[in-house]
């Protein structure tokens, strides 16, 4: 193994390990501030620059809050319950963090420093990058189960069981909605998928892409245990779920892992549907693509925070029903629609396409605008009707009720 290779690997990975934890700290602050605004409060604003008094002149909108939390957590006592499985109790938070960190390498963010390194080191240049992404995020489930089981706490166990059921179920719509994009590009390579959407050719602007993005985002919320799918850590029911027995830095690791997973899955959503680093001005200034990528990630995270501040939680059977009875049929139907649309657009010339170019773009070049418009309206109509119908079918039947008044 040559020195250059080692250097390249370090250049490709180490900055990721620095940037995203920093963004995590910022996100916790953002989340607390945003929730406070949603709830008519001010939010943290006293803890600012270290070593100044609280409420001092340099409070910086409470930006010191994540740092204070981090230092406090670092020195907090670590408690392992007496009956716990010590090894698994220790391994679980680490295992929760590693896959989340690992998949960050699969995001095609064109950081300036990785332009000079060889392609074979860039994980997102792997032919099967998208598949790898899903494979590795799936490991998170194991960490959650480990934590729930190893704590020997009934609430933890309930949380762990809920987490497995939820994550396994929602992985299917997640993967199936990504299939649409793979069909439209003809590649599993993350960089190629991002490049295929250069300019404004984002897949979210196609009907099936829009539907797939919505399904993907909902499933991503469930995968990362965000509200309204935060059942594994439902505070009002099972205390803190699988990390009930975790204190100090292990808890901080879980927290970190959860947020990094949010970054990762939002990053994938950006790659698949929102054009990756594409955005205005990228052609002139290539480094803008990094900014655009991060801005899009933060836009998705802001939506997650917003949902957390507004929605109540689902129940466990409704959660499963939603995945199996609503999202899964809809995403399969969506694949059919996308496939038929591609076929109709191609009009028999699918075999003669250049394999190295994104399929959808080649098809769009010679297509009749009327056909395209008809296709899009038709696809949107079918999806809308299907979603409505599935909603009617999967909704629980309630008895009628009436409110009366007695004078």
């Amino acid at each position: 193994m040559s020195l250059e290779l080692i250097r390249d690997i370090l250049v490709a990975t180490v900055p990721l390990l620095l940037i995203f934890p920093t963004l995590f700290a910022f996100t916790t602050w953002l989340e607390r501030k945003a929730l406070a605004r949603i709830q008519n409060r001010i939010g943290p604003n006293k803890v600012g620059v270290p070593l100044t008094r609280y409420g001092g002149r340099f409070s910086l909108f409470g930006l010191g809050q994540p740092m204070a939390d981090g230092i406090k957590m670092l020195f907090k006592e670590n408690i392992v319950p007496r009956d716990a499985d010590r090894l698994f109790h220790l391994l679980a938070p680490i295992l929760a963090l590693i896959p989340a960190m690992l998949v960050l390498c699969f995001l095609p963010i064109d950081f300036p420093w990785i332009n000079n390194i060889q392609d074979s080191v860039k994980a997102f240049m792997l032919d099967g990058a998208v598949i790898f992404f899903f494979a590795i995020t799936g490991l998170n489930t194991l960490a959650v189960f480990m934590a729930g089981w190893a704590s020997r706490n009934k609430y933890s166990l309930l949380g762990g069981m809920r987490a497995i059921a939820q994550m396994v179920s929602y992985e299917i719509p997640l993967v199936l909605s990504a299939v649409i994009v793979v069909m439209m590009v003809g590649s599993l390579n993350a960089a190629e998928i991002a490049n295929a959407q250069a300019g404004w050719n984002w897949f979210i602007f196609t009907p099936w892409g829009l539907a797939a993005f919505i399904i993907f985002f909902i499933a991503a919320l469930a995968e990362t245990n965000r509200s309204p799918f935060d059942l594994p850590e439902a505070e009002s029911e099972i205390i803190a779920g699988y990390f009930t027995e975790y204190s100090g830095f292990k808890f901080a690791l879980f927290f970190l892992g959860e947020y990094i997973a949010m970054f990762a899955i939002s990053g994938l959503a950006v790659t698949l549907f929102l054009g990756g680093g594409a955005g205005p001005g990228v052609a002139a200034l290539p480094w803008l693509s990094v900014i655009w990528f991060l801005v899009k990630i933060f836009a998705l995270i802001a939506v997650m925070i917003w949902l957390r501040g507004t929605l109540p939680r689902l129940r466990v059977d409704q959660l499963m029903g939603f995945a199996w009875k609503f999202l899964l049929p809809l995403s399969i139907l969506n694949i059919f629609i996308a496939g038929s649309a591609l076929h109709l657009l191609a009009g028999g010339r699918l075999a003669g396409l250049d394999e190295k170019q994104p399929i959808l773009r080649q098809l769009m070049e010679g297509a009749n605008p009327l056909v395209v418009a008809g296709l899009w309206i038709g696809a949107l109509l079918i999806l809308y009707v299907a979603a409505n119908g599935l909603n009617q079918l999967s909704r629980a039947k309630v008895r009628p009720r009436e409110y009366k008044y007695a004078e």
Binding site: M1, D85, L142
Partner: protein, 173 residues
């Protein structure tokens, strides 16, 4: 050189994982050891440049089969076995013989072709190639297999219908 080192490390992990998975009486520990074995196997696939197989190995074996095993275990009563008890059975000798025989049979093609012929044409294990293979010559096989698996899935659901609540149908595939 570095491939060699990686190969030996991964192989050692795989063998150790498999041994622990067999020897542990605590079922959960056993399943996790099995998963370590699967992960090491996936690493070995990566070394052979079969990245798609490696990803699928993780996705299916760890993500689906392992989780399914955990579910099955959580439905049973006694999870933690006694690690101290020795695991022996009366037929261990014959077991060993059968294992050795299977091993030899598996190695037979390699032994017959000894010494290994030179590889004249390097394989191209790219995902694209795999996709073309699956979609052109083997498309019938793939479809039949998919149909079979779907039938099995529906069968499992039907069989489980009478029970209290349908657990996860398992594999995300």
């Amino acid at each position: 050189m570095s491939e060699q080192i990686a190969f030996w490390i991964l192989s050692a992990i795989a063998v150790l994982g498999a041994l622990v998975a067999v020897r542990k009486r605590n079922l959960i520990h056993g399943v996790f050891a099995l998963m370590i074995f699967f992960a090491a196997l996936s690493g070995l696939f990566l070394l052979l440049l079969a990245e798609f197989i490696a990803a699928v190995q993780i996705l299916v074996y760890i993500g689906a089969v392992g989780i399914l095993l955990l579910f099955a275990i959580m439905l049973t009563e006694r999870v933690a076995g006694d690690d101290g008890r020795r695991m022996t059975s009366r037929g261990w000798f014959w077991g060993l013989v059968v294992a050795a025989a299977v091993f030899v049979v598996l190695l037979l093609p390699a032994i017959q072709q000894w010494p290994t012929p030179e590889v004249t044409q390097a394989p191209d294990p790219s995902v694209e190639e795999l996709g073309h293979k699956l979609m052109n010559p083997y498309v019938m096989t793939l479809e039949v297999l998919a149909l079979l698996l779907t039938a099995a899935l529906i069968g499992a659901v039907t069989a489980a219908q009478g029970m209290r609540k349908p657990k996860e149908e398992g594999s995300p595939e």
